[in-house]
Symmetry: C2
Subunit: 150 residues, 2 copies
DNA sequence: ACTGATACTTTGAATATCAAATCAGTTGTA
DNA sequence: TACAACTGATTTGATATTCAAAGTATCAGT
């Protein structure tokens, strides 16, 4: 059962990063002009994005929730004025989603926040060192992939 | 607004790690003998730990939830046989929490999972390189601290 | 023995979620 | 063309998680 001490230390740091980021985003939101949004709603806005008008099912897939869950979420975001539903003329079953002006503002604010966060993550490192850090993240993502495919 | 391309790349990788880890843990749980637990319940068990019998409010603090929320969570975990309430003789208001045998099993399974994850994170790196990765995590944690205290 | 503080529990409301039922529109085919 | 099967989205009913506020029990200081 003896592990390298760095494993426990890194685990603690990862957990701390992990559990604090969500809470920080939540607090940030509460102090902003977007007080009427929860963190899940923010991530829905993020998943819709500003560069396209994805279909409802595209966004559900991206967020790994059912279409029903997304439909409810969009009802709320539409009511609050962050998202609009667009009905495709070529296939009237499809609903595409577009951020309103307010939604795009929110999107950009959240993006800027993430960029500040990443900038601090790699602060003080040289390019080769940054590449090394990226390789560690790649390792983690590979681990997740392998785990998910048994 | 031009950013180093590595910022966007790293942001994407962080987000991917971030959003996949929770889902992976959830899936892992569903396939295990602990099917009757949700991810939140697992983290509550993790916060109680096997090395002590923390009070209810200690655990609530650690999880950043209210005592009311924790009280409800403990009701469910006690009903499912993972946690026991202990009443301190010296102060009858205090409720200490202890994992049952089943709870300790769950705790160890989750710990082992985390250790595999961290091992993969630093796989193929030398000690000095691992220290560098730790410094990046420290940076991120400092950023979070600063952000939270304005 | 009061009074106020402390530790916890219960309750009611809000949100997020899924599965199943439903609705509307499209596609394939007899 | 007509109709069955399919597809994309929505609604609904049930369950989870959470918080704030009210309630209960106990303790500590005067």
């Amino acid at each position: 059962m003896s592990q390298k001490p760095s494993v426990k230390r890194i685990n603690d740091k990862l957990i701390r990063v992990y559990s604090d980021i969500l809470r920080m985003e939540e607090e940030e939101l509460r102090k902003s002009q977007f007080r009427d949004l929860g963190i899940k709603e923010m991530h829905t806005i993020d998943a819709i994005g500003i560069h396209a008008t994805p279909s409802s099912s595209d966004v559900a897939k991206k967020l790994h929730v059912t279409q029903g869950t997304l439909s409810v979420a969009i009802n709320n975001l539409a009511r609050k004025g962050y998202v609009e539903r667009l009905h495709l003329e070529s296939d009237k079953r499809v609903v595409n989603l577009r951020l309103s002006r307010k939604g795009r503002l929110m999107y950009r604010a959240h993006l800027a926040f993430h960029q500040k966060m990443v900038a601090s993550f790699v602060k003080g490192f040289t390019e080769p060192q940054i590449e090394l850090i990226e390789r560690a993240l790649d390792n983690l993502n590979e681990f997740i992939d392998e785990y998910r495919h048994h």
